[in-house]
């Protein structure tokens, strides 16, 4: 962290008037302390100088290259403004210059922790315009790899969240288990993170013949580990003290901000696209949508969002098991049987979306019906939208709590900046 004022600060021109406003509003200098989960004001109207604190872009707790410019009053943040774009490479312009199937590898690089899910969302969007019949086995394989990737992604989210708050051990546990998933996905697709596996209309390859057995082994191995992780981190008293009651977001505000995924469910809204706007074979599968009930966490706080991720992993295990049991046999199966030779969708527009580990990833695609390239392809990034609430979430919080809040949003800057 550095306190030098950056050149393009929004506070430069307005900071003096802004401070006067804050003083008038009773938000002037205060000295505070924490008692339990409450912030107690010790002294008010101390004439200390407000400070601009630039956090990032190279700060470890910002999970990549996010810069937060905080206007602080002692330990209290009066305003935090995120600056994005450090990883911007104009994904959408790239899309307008390549064919539909060639966009799939770009989607991997959006949310690089959940490449399978991003490909899945993109394939769904294009297939809506194409009218192709997807073989049933393809759907099952897609769901298995997507759910495996969801677990891997949540493991990173949970592990790094622990590190943000000073717990190093869970991180190692998480990465040990994530490694198994990555190896399995590498076995199926040939790549560890940037898969290019789910194609428009099918898959790149069928899964290896022994894949399902090995996945089942992993499920049996991993189920006790989720319990272990729960005891190690989610019930850890230090961890709970750092996250419970911090950064509370009421449900209606969360909806208005366009939150989705674990963030929205953390605020108590039971909304999961796999259930509420079903796609693929999810309607046939039996799984729960975990929503915090307020017993171990305060609904809408950082702990709730973490809790949703922790519980979701078990649901994903259930989905994988069911898919393996129900999957049609590989006899006479060609994963590319429905893949069009040239992807040329009918003229029109579509907004296709899927439930990613971080929320709703949507693609708005516009086709003119003649070209093999999209006229417009916009990615609706879940973290981009989730992060936009930062200003409201951070107001009046302590600086160490800001780290807890950013971690709970679980941002991947590759998707935020696109």
């Amino acid at each position: 962290m550095e306190s030098r004022c950056p050149t393009n600060s929004v506070f430069n021109s307005q900071s003096s008037t802004r401070m006067q406003e804050l003083d008038r509003a009773g938000m002037g200098s205060v000295r505070v302390t924490r008692k339990g989960n409450n912030v107690v004001v010790l002294e008010k109207d101390l004439a200390t100088e407000q400070m601009i604190l630039a956090m990032g872009p190279q700060h470890p707790s910002t999970h990549g290259v996010l810069k937060l410019e905080c206007l602080t009053d002692g330990e209290v943040i009066t305003e935090a403004v995120p600056y994005l774009g450090y990883l911007h490479r104009c994904f959408e312009k790239c899309c307008e210059n390549v064919d539909y199937p060639a966009i799939v590898p770009y989607t991997d690089r959006l949310d690089y922790l959940a490449g399978m899910n991003s490909e899945f969302a993109y394939a769904i969007a294009v297939e809506k315009l194409l009218d192709v019949e997807i073989p049933r086995r393809v759907e099952f394989i897609r769901v298995i790899v997507a759910e495996m990737n969801r677990i891997a992604s949540h493991l990173v989210a949970i592990g790094t969240y622990g590190i943000d708050l000073g717990a190093f051990t869970p991180f190692l546990f998480c990465f040990r288990d994530r490694e198994i998933i990555l190896s399995l996905l590498e076995w199926a697709s040939g790549a560890r993170m940037l898969y290019n596996y789910i194609w428009v209309g099918g898959l790149a390859y069928d899964i290896p013949s022994d894949f399902n057995r090995r996945v089942k082994e992993f499920v049996n191995y991993f189920r006790p580990k989720t319990v272990e992780l729960y005891k190690l981190l989610t019930e850890n008293e230090i961890f709970v003290k750092r996250t419970r009651g911090i950064g509370i977001m009421p449900a209606d505000v969360a909806i208005n901000y366009g939150w989705s995924g674990p963030m929205l469910r953390g605020s108590g809204v039971k909304w999961d696209l796999r259930r509420n706007d079903p796609y693929s074979i999810y309607p046939e599968l039996d799984f729960a949508v975990p929503v915090p009930d307020g017993k171990v966490s305060d609904v809408g706080d950082c702990l709730s969002r973490h809790l949703v991720r922790a519980l979701e992993m078990e649901e994903s295990l259930k989905i994988i098991e069911q898919c393996i049991d129900k999957m049609p046999s590989a006899e006479g199966f060609n994963p590319r049987s429905a893949v069009p030779k040239r992807v040329r969708p009918k003229a029109g527009e579509v907004y296709g979306r899927a439930e990613n580990p971080r929320g709703e990833l949507g693609f708005y695609i516009q086709s003119d019906g003649k070209s093999t390239k999209p006229l417009r392809c916009k990615a609706r990034s879940s973290c981009f939208v989730n992060l936009s609430a930062m200003k409201d979430l951070s107001k009046g919080q302590l600086i160490p709590d800001l780290v807890a809040i950013i971690g709970s949003i679980d941002i991947v800057l590759g998707e935020v900046d696109r």
Binding site: E92, N256, Y351, V385
Partner: protein
């Protein structure tokens, strides 16, 4: 709308929602386009867009409380740029509808709806960043992904990238 065509349930819901909006605003909105993939209507009187948005959000039978996506689009042939908003009612009425708003390609502006849905705040900044249309009444109209001193709007169809940026050669 084509006669005699059987519409799926979700489009019927969208059409029903559109009728309520059309009854209130009449000629300010275009006829409903009931295509299968993304049913939409266009706002013709753009100055009424925030009012329509607020009506859509707060009317008890509509309750479009969730803006899923707002995408900027370049309609080069019409000499226009515009936005496409995918809006839905989350948890209340379970219907969704898309709205298009267009403005001139050269110095055009669209009224902001950031005060109706917070989601629109950053998405409108992004649309401005990529297409150059201004959103009047937006609380913080700055670029978001490109640097503040970047030249041109990258997603316009006729965009030419600048030669150098602070002494760095840009085209690769």
């Amino acid at each position: 709308m084509e006669e005699g065509k059987v519409l799926s349930q979700s489009i019927q819901q969208s059409a029903a929602a559109y009728v309520i909006i059309h009854d209130k605003f009449g000629e300010a909105v275009s006829p409903f386009d009931a295509n299968e993939t993304m049913p939409f209507f266009e706002v013709i009187d753009t100055s009424l867009w925030p009012e329509i948005a607020l009506f859509m959000r707060d009317h008890p039978k509509l309750q479009f409380n969730y803006m899923a996506c707002l995408s900027g689009v370049d309609y080069q042939a019409e000499e226009k740029v515009g936005i496409v908003c995918n809006i839905e009612s989350l948890g209340q009425c379970h219907h969704k509808l898309s709205v298009k708003v267009k403005c001139s390609r050269h110095g055009g502006s669209i009224p902001s709806v950031a005060c109706v849905w917070h989601t629109a705040n950053w998405h409108e900044r992004e649309a401005y960043d990529m297409f150059g249309m201004l959103f009047t009444g937006h609380p913080d109209m700055r670029r978001i992904l490109c640097p503040d001193d970047w030249e041109g709007y990258p997603l316009l169809k006729d965009y030419k990238v600048q030669e150098s940026y602070h002494g760095i050669k840009v085209p690769y």
